[in-house]
């Protein structure tokens, strides 16, 4: 019998630790389904408000059906809200006593933060399913094939993953839960300062240049092209590169912050 605690030295145990920490976060969702409210209610509310209340006015200035324009953008709204949760979960772990237990275990410590980030993906998948369902109810139709849909869903999850690492950085920076919750709202901001919900044609030139080329806008453009069977141009490649880069950068910063917090 090998009933002895052992240090995580092998790749197997490192993966096992990550699986365990993802499972923990998923159990949190099961025990506290409120966490799903953010990723479902927020995008649906955005869809309803934009489409019903503002949709008519926006439609007047554009050729395309506004709902077809809007829904891919709402995917990114959902991604933003899915990521915000990570800031709070990470902060709760770091500020409460449980972190001391994790830190004295022979586990791979990186799984503490990574577990929260990875568990954002199934959460986002649920939010995405609800968003698409409500979109279809409102009359959204797409002629895109399975490949294009897979690419759009994959891109949404990559954006969630990248923003989730940014949220983890915020969660590690905050000295109190209140501060973290305030700061986490910053993650949503780039989504509203993009072409995700409204066309940017009417913006002044200098501002449009910034807004139309920021990563969220690149992802929105790629998503719209994919779902309406249009050529994606360089939007998809740029979005993939940019969000992969954000993921790596935020991951490195989060790792450094975690190490700093751990040696206080």
């Amino acid at each position: 019998m090998t009933a002895v605690s052992r240090p995580a030295r092998s790749l197997w145990w490192t993966l096992s630790d990550h699986a365990e920490m993802v499972k923990r976060s998923l159990k949190h969702i099961a025990h506290d389904p409120d966490q799903l409210v953010t990723v479902t209610l927020q995008p649906v509310l955005t869809l309803v408000i934009m489409n019903i209340f503002l949709g008519g006015a926006i439609q007047a200035g554009m050729q395309q059906n506004y709902l077809d324009f809007l829904l891919p953008g709402v995917f990114l709204v959902m991604a933003g809200f899915a990521a915000v949760t990570t800031a709070t979960s990470v902060a709760v772990d770091m500020l409460q006593g449980v972190i001391d237990r994790f830190r004295t275990l022979p586990m791979a410590k990186s799984s503490i933060v990574t577990g929260h980030v990875i568990s954002d993906l199934p959460r986002a998948a649920i939010g995405l399913a609800v968003t698409i369902g409500v979109g279809v109810l409102f009359g959204f139709r797409s002629s895109a094939g399975i490949g294009a849909w897979a690419a759009a869903i994959g891109l949404t999850l990559l954006v969630t993953f990248a923003l989730s690492w940014v949220a983890a950085v915020i969660g590690l920076l905050g000295r109190s839960l209140e501060v973290v919750q305030q700061l986490a709202a910053v993650i949503i901001l780039p989504v509203f300062l993009s072409n995700a919900l409204v066309p940017t044609d009417t913006l002044p030139d200098w501002l449009r240049g910034v807004v139309a080329n920021q990563p969220i806008s690149q992802a929105t453009d790629a998503m719209r092209a994919l779902l309406s069977n249009q050529p994606v141009g360089d939007h998809l490649a740029l979005a993939l590169i940019e969000f992969a880069a954000i993921s790596v950068l935020a991951f490195i910063i989060a790792t450094l912050l975690f190490k700093r917090a751990a040696t206080r």
Binding site: M1, T2, A3, V4, S5, R6, P7, A8, R9, W13, S16, D17, E20, K23, R24, K27, H28, H31, D32, Q96, G97, V98, I99, D100, R101, F102, R103, T104, L105, P106, M107, T263, R264
Partner: protein, 347 residues
């Protein structure tokens, strides 16, 4: 409640029990320093804890007890000094150390959203234990800590005492050979406190090593083989409870008589034994051990010959309280306030 099988990974035998003394102590610390300010933190701590023994860290609030435990449990990095835990260098091989230790800190280190059982399962998996072992030990630990009925409820719904007990159960899931307990019984009811003492004694009987801090001197007296007193981050005394008590004074015999006159007669008869009288009470020191019995016989004979007989007698042993007050200089509450206000002024 646990088997000692499979401890082959240890570089030294920590599970050998108290009878076979291993060559390497379970905890060996030299010059350990972690300073926050000039008087807070820990300074040049030397400490050796033999395998299979209990050492208690005692001292006033803010003395550095928690800092010491956090350093040893790999939660803090020392400014200076060496720590060897179970033969491993704590600074260079933290994971190896972490596989040997269990820690119960002052705040409950469990996942509030998971159930009691869920916590034991998760922390067992993060110790890389097989599922079957986790199941068996979880059941035993939940029973032992009287948590079986709450096993499937989220920890959020637990009372403070229940959280504390779960925290202790989680610390024991991997059957650590070295256990750090930072004020383990604070906030526990007397029954749970006794239950934990029993568990600690069992673990030690099986060869585990325990380092605990406590505010309760009777707890240290009941559990510890050795006591280390620290104050303002520095070690001020160390030894077995009996040795420390012997340093502050001897056992006192008190005889209470019917009248002051009788008492004075007895005191005169016991002049050579350094007896003193206060009202109808005569008090004299007794030597420890076998000599004490002989001395007691002499006293009884002498009082008898003087023709008086005491109404009551009692024997007062020096307590760790006496040791504590003498060492920390907090002799009386009023003196303590004076000292503290003097400290405030100098700041």
């Amino acid at each position: 409640m646990c088997s000692s099988a499979g401890r082959t990974r240890l570089p030294v035998s920590l599970r050998g029990g108290t009878s076979s003394m291993p060559a390497v102590p379970a905890i060996s610390v030299a010059g350990l320093t972690k300073s926050y300010t000039e008087t807070t933190g820990l300074f040049d701590l030397d400490l050796e804890v033999p395998a299979g023994s209990v050492t208690a860290l005692l001292g006033p609030n803010g003395a550095g007890k928690t800092t010491a435990v956090r350093l040893l449990a790999t939660l803090l990095k020392p400014d200076r000094g060496h720590m060897r835990i179970g033969g491993y260098d704590a600074a260079r091989q933290p994971r190896e150390v972490q596989a040997l230790i269990g820690l119960t800190g002052q705040s409950a280190s469990v996942d509030m959203k998971l159930t009691g059982k869920g916590n034991l399962a998760m922390f067992g998996r993060l110790h890389h234990l097989p599922w079957r072992t986790i199941r068996e030990r979880s059941r035993l630990l939940l029973e032992r800590f009287d948590l079986a009925t709450a096993a499937n409820k989220p920890v959020q719904s637990y009372s403070g005492g229940m959280r504390r007990k779960l925290d202790l159960a989680v610390s024991l899931i991997a059957e650590p050979s070295i256990l750090f307990l930072d004020e383990p019984t604070t906030g526990l009811d007397p029954a749970s406190r006794q239950a934990l003492w029993e568990i600690i004694r069992d673990l030690v009987a099986q060869g585990a090593t325990v380092l605990l801090t406590t505010q309760y001197l009777d707890e240290a007296d009941a559990l510890a083989d050795r006591i280390t007193f620290i104050d303002a981050g520095r070690r001020i005394a160390q030894g077995a409870p009996a040795e420390l008590k012997a340093q502050v004074g001897q056992t006192q015999l008190r005889l209470t008589f019917r009248s002051t006159g009788d008492a004075e007669t007895a005191r005169a008869a016991l002049e050579r034994s350094a007896a003193v009288r206060s009202g109808a009470v005569v008090q004299l020191p007794l030597p420890g051990g076998r000599d004490g019995l002989d001395a007691l016989k002499t006293v009884i004979d002498a009082v008898d010959r003087a023709g008086v007989s005491p109404e009551r007698y009692d024997v007062q042993e020096p307590t760790l309280n006496d040791v504590y007050f003498q060492l920390t200089g907090h002799q009386r509450p009023d003196e303590e306030t004076k000292k503290n206000s003097a400290k405030e002024k100098t700041r």
